[in-house]
Symmetry: D2
Subunit: 115 residues, 4 copies
């Protein structure tokens, strides 16, 4: 079984055992997604690049846990809204390949609408 | 090949063709993760539950695209920090199973540290 | 002295005594602004309207502290970028009055670009 | 009249003319606060310090507008929850002065709970 599907199944099982679907309206789930993304970001607050490189050596476990929380909500929201997230990401990559042609965007961080 | 790995490969290829790794320091990647999560959340702003149910019928494509952007940054950051995101999520589910015992948390949205 | 100016002076004094201006580059300050805004939002996560009304009765102090943190970063960033935040808000209200004419927007939460 | 009060009055008037209080439940207001904070942050995405310094020269107007949006929601939420935001910020500064004694925190960005 593909791992996105397998992880989604595990999350669903966890949720169903606790009868938590009732709380998972899209607004609160999206809000939770933002909160967890913010927790990932907090790890890098105030640190310069050298400090970050030093920091991540010992914080991989913690950062991984926060990233896992983000993925958790991505998978739950995709499942609840019947979005095939794998397909959505593949389509987005194709779209971005058009938005950011290699010759125009190589080595530049300009947004597509300003290229 | 498991799909998380496959998606990661596609994203890496997209990035390498554009020589964008130079911009992907963890702080800016995490910042991008938050911005995309916020774009997911914006879809539900000001709408009540009935309006959300109506809205998502026709917005699945758009919401899927934003969720894909979030997943994109989760996978990039996991790759760059050498975090096995699948394993991290599985471990987090096990941790949450302990934090939220079924008998104490069933049907309640209380945070684990207040159970 | 107008209170925005007075609060800004107090914050500057607090910062200068600790020699923290060196850390306050706009990216990290904006990142901090988002983190504090997320902490405000977290107070309302998973709660329905009735639960929120009950909750805020006893959480005014805590929520006020998070809102103060947000204001703190708004004032610091405005000061550092030489933005007159009072004037900026007055201008934005005038702009919004045009974007949202009373007759078109009364009782509706439609965004200005869809009115 | 102190300017925080005056700005709050203007915002209230703007809101009342449009009959928008009905939408301003704390959850959606806090969500809006986060979205606007994210828009401030987006200005600095991918830019290094030199690029930011160059960028802000011409973007003061735009950044000011986003900061004004953040302040707008701070003032609305404070008003609706009957929080005296000026007093809350003054108290928070006093609290931070204790959390971050000058001799321990001078020139360091360590969080108070790790000092």
């Amino acid at each position: 079984m593909p791992d996105i599907k397998e992880l989604t199944e595990k999350i669903k099982k966890f949720r169903d055992e606790r009868d938590w679907k009732q709380f998972h309206n899209p607004k609160d789930v999206a809000l939770s997604l933002v909160l967890e993304a913010a927790e990932v970001m907090e790890h890098f607050q105030w640190k310069n690049q050298a400090e970050i490189e030093e920091y991540v050596k010992n914080a991989k476990e913690d950062i991984g846990e926060e990233l896992a929380d983000v993925l958790y909500w991505v998978l739950i929201l995709s499942y609840d809204l019947e979005i095939d997230i794998r397909e959505a990401l593949e389509k987005k990559i194709v779209k971005n390949e058009k938005r950011y042609p290699v010759d125009k965007s190589r080595g530049r961080h300009t947004k597509y609408n300003k290229l």
